[in-house]
Amino acid sequence: MIELQHVSKTYSGRSVLVKALADVSLSIATGELVAIVGASGSGKSTLLQILGCLDTPSAGRYVLNGTAVEGLDDAELSRLRNKHVGFVFQSFNLLPRATALENVELPLLYANGASPGVSPAPLLLERVGVAHRARHYPAELSGGEQQRVAIARALVMKPSLLLADEPTGNLDAATGAQVLRLIHDLNDDGLTVVLVTHDPAVAAKADRRITLADGRIA
């Protein structure tokens, strides 16, 4: 499903080049739950963004579901992201002036006809346990509810890959455990999950753990 071959990513800073990833090669099979761990600045988020087609490698090759990402233009990358990838962020990233339901429906608006006829958003909100909060704005929801809405949004296009960047980082232990349970349930249903985490306990529950240090797989 995911194939990275000798991928590097270099950013140009003000006066120096910053190497975020260096010669990273890895494969992730369909249905796997992989945890990416590492210290701050080790390149975890950069790797996640490349996997999610939000960023492209400076060098190397990335193939997602059989599509080689290099050379794709903005519209093609966006389409790939919209169709195949769901994102869950630590700070939820819900649109503040949209209701929970509208937030979940957001990817459908960018699907250009590729979205299903009947919106699956209400069912997804029900599945993640916040159907009763569908008409509420993010500011009216608790952290756990916001993250559930974010997960529902990530699933609305029925993606094959869920990328979660510290999904429990802003939640208390009990709520974090519930969210993690939800992610594991989704994985049990066959969804491929890549999880960035600092938490060894979270990483321990993954099928596989990839550790990054200074942009390299340790």
């Binding site: 988020s45 960023d55 509208e102």
Partner: protein
């Protein structure tokens, strides 16, 4: 992204960010408002001036010939000593000047005492030719107009009939002379300067000449034109003919005046145009300033909403989607501002018209043009900020937010 989706997203953003929308649209609203009111005021003043001239003279497509040279100010009356305009001059104008349909002749005096039923009032007395009514388009409310030029009959303006409490078939005294009332005119309202056009009494010209004013010289010759658009040429021809008839040599100044209402209206309207120009500037400046404010706020919004943009991009939005989304928000705000501006403008104009008892004079083509200009200004002002929003790199923004 479909138009429906774009409209939905834009309307959601605009309607749920009310303070930002209000600030962005305020300048544009002022612009449309100023233009709508400016044009309506100008159009209203134009209509009022033309209306009052029309009420006074029946038509603005006429020429007036009065005795007395260009140096003499104001209307001459029968009481004046100037006697340079004769009925023969009027007949000559009618028969010899091309482009003249017909002429009407009049003598008048402003302060004549009219008495009846033990009441009295001061009124204007006009001795006029029998075609005066049709030339001026006066309507007779009761009775009829006179055809006889020598009878002692009178047609009263509605104010005189009301004040003296008289009607057709009764009598009244004018300067001590008795007249039979044969008709009462329908109200003509007010003329230029707000003077009443109904405080007036008409009697036949011959009767007025011999019995009241005791002279044959005229105070006014009313010249109806065949082709109103050629009034300047006809004015020159009338002037030439009367100069020749009065034996005036080159260099000698006229002992009469040929007045064109269209020229008078143009002079009055030119006085108003200074104010109108200022208001046009206010309107234009409002739109321009509104555009700048909208652009600044849109740029600020694009910077503030970087996380929102990055989230949309993560959900599959292309750069083009973001550009269209932000641009549509600006157009949506400008459209709302245009609609509000037009509604307020028409509302203020209607209120003003009601208070001044005038007819609503909204110039719809210009008003709708101003509304369209507002939307265009909004679109122009929103384009660069929208491009800026579209250029936000989601990878950088999301990395900044990452732990």
């Amino acid at each position: 992204m479909t138009i429906a989706t774009l409209t939905k997203l834009s309307w959601r953003a605009v309607s749920r960010s009310r303070v930002r929308t209000l600030l962005s649209g305020a300048g544009l609203v002022i612009g449309v408002l100023a233009i709508t009111i400016t044009v309506a005021t100008g159009e209203g003043a134009r209509r009022a001036v033309r209306g009052s001239f029309k009420a006074m003279f029946g038509s603005i497509d006429v020429l007036f010939v009065q005795p007395g040279g260009p140096a003499q100010r104001g209307m001459s009356t029968a009481a004046d000593a100037v006697t340079t305009l004769t009925p023969d001059d009027a007949v000559a104008i009618a028969s010899q000047v091309n482009g003249v349909r017909e002429v009407g002749m009049a003598q008048d005096a402003p302060n004549i005492v009219a008495e009846a039923n033990g009441q009295n009032t001061t009124t204007s007395l006009w001795g006029v030719s029998s075609n005066w009514r049709s030339l001026h388009g006066d309507s007779v409310a009761s009775g009829s107009y006179f055809q006889d030029t020598d009878a002692r009959v009178a047609v009263l303006g509605s104010d005189v009939a009301r004040v003296l409490r008289v009607s057709t078939g009764q009598r009244l005294r004018l300067s001590g002379i008795e007249f039979d009332i044969v008709g009462v005119l329908a109200s003509n309202g007010a003329g230029p300067g707000g003077i009443s056009l109904d405080n007036i009494v008409y009697v036949p010209l011959g009767t007025a000449s011999r019995r009241v004013f005791n002279k044959s010289a005229l105070n006014l010759v009313d010249v109806a034109l065949v082709r109103p658009e050629a009034w300047q040429k006809t004015q020159g021809d009338v002037q030439k003919l009367v100069r020749a008839r009065h034996g005036l040599s080159p260099g000698q100044i006229d002992d009469f005046r040929v007045i064109a209402p269209r020229a008078m209206i143009a002079r009055i309207e030119s006085v108003d145009s200074g104010l109108a120009k200022t208001l046009w500037w206010v309107g234009g400046l409002g739109l321009g300033l509104g555009g700048v404010i909208a652009a600044v706020l849109a740029v600020t919004a694009a910077l503030q909403r970087r996380h929102e943009i990055a989230t949309c991009r993560a959900c599959g939005a292309t750069r083009r989607d973001i550009l269209l989304q932000f641009w549509a928000e600006s157009v949506c705000t400008a459209t709302a501002a245009a609609v509000i501006g037009v509604i307020l403008g028409v509302g203020v104009t209607a209120l003003g018209a009601t208070m001044m008892r005038a007819k609503l004079a909204v110039d719809w083509p210009v008003t709708l043009g101003a509304a369209l200009a507002t939307v265009l200004v909004g679109a122009l002002a929103g384009y660069v900020p929208a491009r800026r929003a579209a250029s936000v790199d989601p990878a950088i923004v999301l990395r900044e937010a990452a732990p």
